[in-house]
Symmetry: C2
Subunit: 312 residues, 2 copies
Amino acid sequence: MTRLNLSPADPKPVLVVGSVAFDNIITPYASGERILGGSASYAALATSYFAPARLVGVVGHDFDQAHVDRFQAHGIDTEGLQRDESGPTFFWKGKYHENFNRRDTIDIQLNVFETFRPELPQSYQDSPFLMLGNIAPGLQLHVLDALAESRPYTLADTIDLWIDIQKDELLKVVSRVDLFVINDSESEQLTGEKNIILAGEKLLELGTKAAIIKKGEHGAYLFHPEGRFALPAYPVTELRDPTGAGDSFAGALLGYLAATDDTSFNAIRKAMVYATATASMTVEDFSCDRLESAGAEAIQARFNEILSMTQL
Amino acid sequence: MTRLNLSPADPKPVLVVGSVAFDNIITPYASGERILGGSASYAALATSYFAPARLVGVVGHDFDQAHVDRFQAHGIDTEGLQRDESGPTFFWKGKYHENFNRRDTIDIQLNVFETFRPELPQSYQDSPFLMLGNIAPGLQLHVLDALAESRPYTLADTIDLWIDIQKDELLKVVSRVDLFVINDSESEQLTGEKNIILAGEKLLELGTKAAIIKKGEHGAYLFHPEGRFALPAYPVTELRDPTGAGDSFAGALLGYLAATDDTSFNAIRKAMVYATATASMTVEDFSCDRLESAGAEAIQARFNEILSMTQL
């Protein structure tokens, strides 16, 4: 496992909290059964190209050591990956429609995730960067409380489900993080603003220090006290499975900030380019397969390609 | 009328061919009746901020001198604006839906446009730049034939209607121009490719030397033998009437190329930023009102804002 060659060469560790899952994915062209998924899986693998990742999540009795090995092959610290022998791993079955813009959840089995409480090993307590991947906002708050003293630089992600059923907790999360990442339809749902600019400004009013609204194939938009930044997506021609694109985006983004130990406006803008490059790899194959096999060189090459495509 | 201060300061003239119309526009928030519209009106006004525009179109007996004065106040040469006393001016009535992404044509009266044949005054024959605004592809071919000898650098625009009813003629236009501009849904309709990259490559195969696919609020994409360029749109918060955005985009784009007498890949990329800036002005008010009143300074300021928003 080789990391990207960034300077300074003293990457800080990133604590990644989220779900680890088995997914069944159906697309118009192919499908995958019981493939590795979950927000923390994608995010930790993406982070690992930039900085050391520390994984916190839960798996069940059916989670093979082979899958743990996949994380470890990427240098991911799995001490915080809890194994709950009382049941199977979190399971999600989803189906994508013709243009990949819409997906339906066909089946969801929380299994060991139902009673999951993130526990942080002692060795994780000093993590200077924290990624709160998509899990219940109540659990995200629990982690924020556990790290209230060390106060890591924190990125949080979410999905529409939590706006529906745990909006108050989610708003608390937004008010306590450094960088809140959300997609465009969810930002409208959360803020009530259809216009992306007004939605972004509203997110800053809700307390996050900066916000990124993702527009899928149309790119991403950063709102920051020092300014705004708009970046087109990388135009993928070999789209096979969009699952995990957002988690990879967030994981790579925070990984770059940790790698350079820089959380400035400029660093976040550059991190968005690396995040876009990394996410564009993820969607070229099912599960984490392409993300895992891509390699640092291919991610750097795609970063360069995005720069040449978007910079005058 | 002041032009943008660009170097070299010897702008070449741009011949703009298209429709001049009266529009009735209904949006969810307001409406406008018998307001100045048409592809050539928007394009020529947009061009005029960058280079001298020469207008070719037709109006009917109901087209007041006051409207001609609006063109002339922008230094637009109206010698090629034919007046046909036999009927009223081309009329279009359209209605925009909630999110402005969809519009319906409620009424269309071709009037004097039905028998229009673009005639080029002798003084226009030497135009080194040609904008074929949205009109029937048959008429666009007629102009290309008339200028076959001088062979100006040519940008062509179109709409879905012509793909439906004059596809063969439109494909001939595509094969003969330097820069073909089309929106994303139309590019899919014309090329059969859903993926924007594949659609853009197909357009180049169809013969245009370069192509721009516009994605509305999501920006625009350039396909050129030397590379690709993706630019986000300017995020307008005061959207009032999207009519004419595409025509303004094309008119400003060609105006910038004429102003700098440079049609290189780099010039087209920079021109897209000016085009985006100019189009973002147009949609802030009904008809050509904001485009007319904006002034060169405001367009330059918005250009600068887009650069700072999109460039690292």
